[in-house]
Structures are given as structure tokens and as C-alpha cells.
Subunit: 130 residues, 2 copies
């Protein structure tokens, strides 16, 4: 079985197209937005397949799932570490080139949780909504 080094998932035709199309976008689409894009290439694809595979691809580490933008999840094919800014009006997400680092002094915060990582995102208003 030809499995990829990232996670153990098989890259089916549907998954390949979802992944390729997502990687070409800078827009952080929602599942349904990506469904309409992918449907141009695979007209018979089911929306459930898109949802299922966006989940599978993010679990396997191929893509990023952005949960904090409105009530819909958004997806990102750009695996470079980078920061996002989200529009509080329309929930669109834009990349910010700079990778924001957490200052040293916050490396050992007092908590009984086992710290794995952190998330920084900015929020504001996009040019379109201004």
C-alpha cells in the first residue's frame, strides 16, 4: 500500500484534487466553498466526501483547520508557520507574513495543564468591509 510519510492516509483522486485546489488558494475556504471549486474538476464528488477528507487531511497533517473564524471551519493548505488576521464582519481570514513568536517569559506559565502550544491570531476589519 502506497502511504504517504505524513499521516497514514491513502491519497485518492478526491483527496488529491481537494489538496491541490486548496494549496492553490490563499483564501482559507470553508468546506462548502471548496466543494464548489473541486466539483469543477470532479463533478460527481459528494459534499460529505469534502468534509470527511478535509478532516482526514488535517488530522494527517497535510492541511490546517482554522476553527476560530465564525461558525464555519476554514482550511489552509499553506503549512509554513504564519499568522492569520480575521475580519470580524465577514470572517474572512488573511495571511500575515510574519510568524509571531511567544516571548521567552511566557514559556513557563503557571498552570496544571500540560502545555502543547499556543495560537495567536489578530482580528480586525478587511478592506472590503471597511
Amino acid at each position: 500500500m502506497k502511504k504517504d510519510k505524513l499521516g497514514a492516509i491513502r491519497l485518492t483522486e478526491q483527496r488529491k484534487v481537494i489538496l491541490e485546489e486548496l494549496k492553490q488558494l490563499k483564501t482559507h475556504p470553508t468546506a462548502d466553498e471548496l466543494y464548489f471549486i473541486v466539483k469543477k474538476i470532479l463533478p460527481k464528488i459528494s459534499i460529505a466526501t469534502v468534509y470527511r477528507n478535509l478532516e482526514a487531511l488535517s488530522a494527517a497533517g497535510y492541511i490546517i483547520k482554522i476553527k476560530s473564524a465564525g461558525n464555519q471551519k476554514r482550511f489552509d493548505g499553506n503549512m509554513q508557520e504564519h499568522t492569520h488576521i480575521r475580519c470580524i464582519k465577514c470572517n474572512k481570514v488573511r495571511d500575515i507574513e510574519d510568524k509571531i513568536e511567544l516571548p521567552e517569559k511566557y514559556k513557563n506559565l503557571k498552570t496544571d495543564f500540560n502545555i502543547i502550544g499556543f495560537n495567536i491570531d489578530l482580528y480586525g476589519i478587511c478592506p472590503n468591509c471597511l
Copy 2:
């Protein structure tokens, strides 16, 4: 970042109880969790009233709405600036006393968005899920 002045909403009995109960908790409850707590004091309250008023109270600046913890929103009556850590297994949210500041060098990020503020939250595994 910026504290809004409290909006003008009428504090009905239901709203007072929701607010008081929420402020006594350190647990960042979901709407339905808070519904069961409030029901002990106001047994006839409707769950829709809890949802509606959590929205109203957060819009008016009385409470904080935490959107990035799983698929349910969580609410926080603690209006002191503070940071959260979220358990990636059970989505519970815990306070971290320290207020994390965005380093100076990130004050001038290159973006065409109108930056309003930023969010930092940590994630990890809570003692219960370990």
C-alpha cells in the same frame, strides 16, 4: 485590547441570575451547562433565553464569549484581562493569571486589514485528560 463601555441593556431577573451565576464560576461554561445551573434558581427559564441573553450580555460587554473551544461557545464572567488554556481532548478552558502582551515588534504588521486586536490562547491537556 480596548475595553468597551457597557452597553445599555435592561437587567431583567433572568439576565441578573445568568450574570451572577456565570461570575461565580471559574469553569467557562457552555450555554447549556449554564442553563442547568440557572434553572435551579429560575426553574421556568427557557434555554433559548439563556442563549439569547448570553449573546446580549457579551454584546453589551458584561461577559466574554469564547468561540474557539470545540463546537460549543463558552462564556466567561471574568472581565479582567487574562489568558486561556484549552484542553484539546475535552475542550475545557482554564484561566492563566498572566496577561500575555503582544511584543512591541509586532505592533506594525504588514496587512491591509484594519487591526483591532489580537487573541492569544494556549492549548494543551488538562490534568483530568492526562
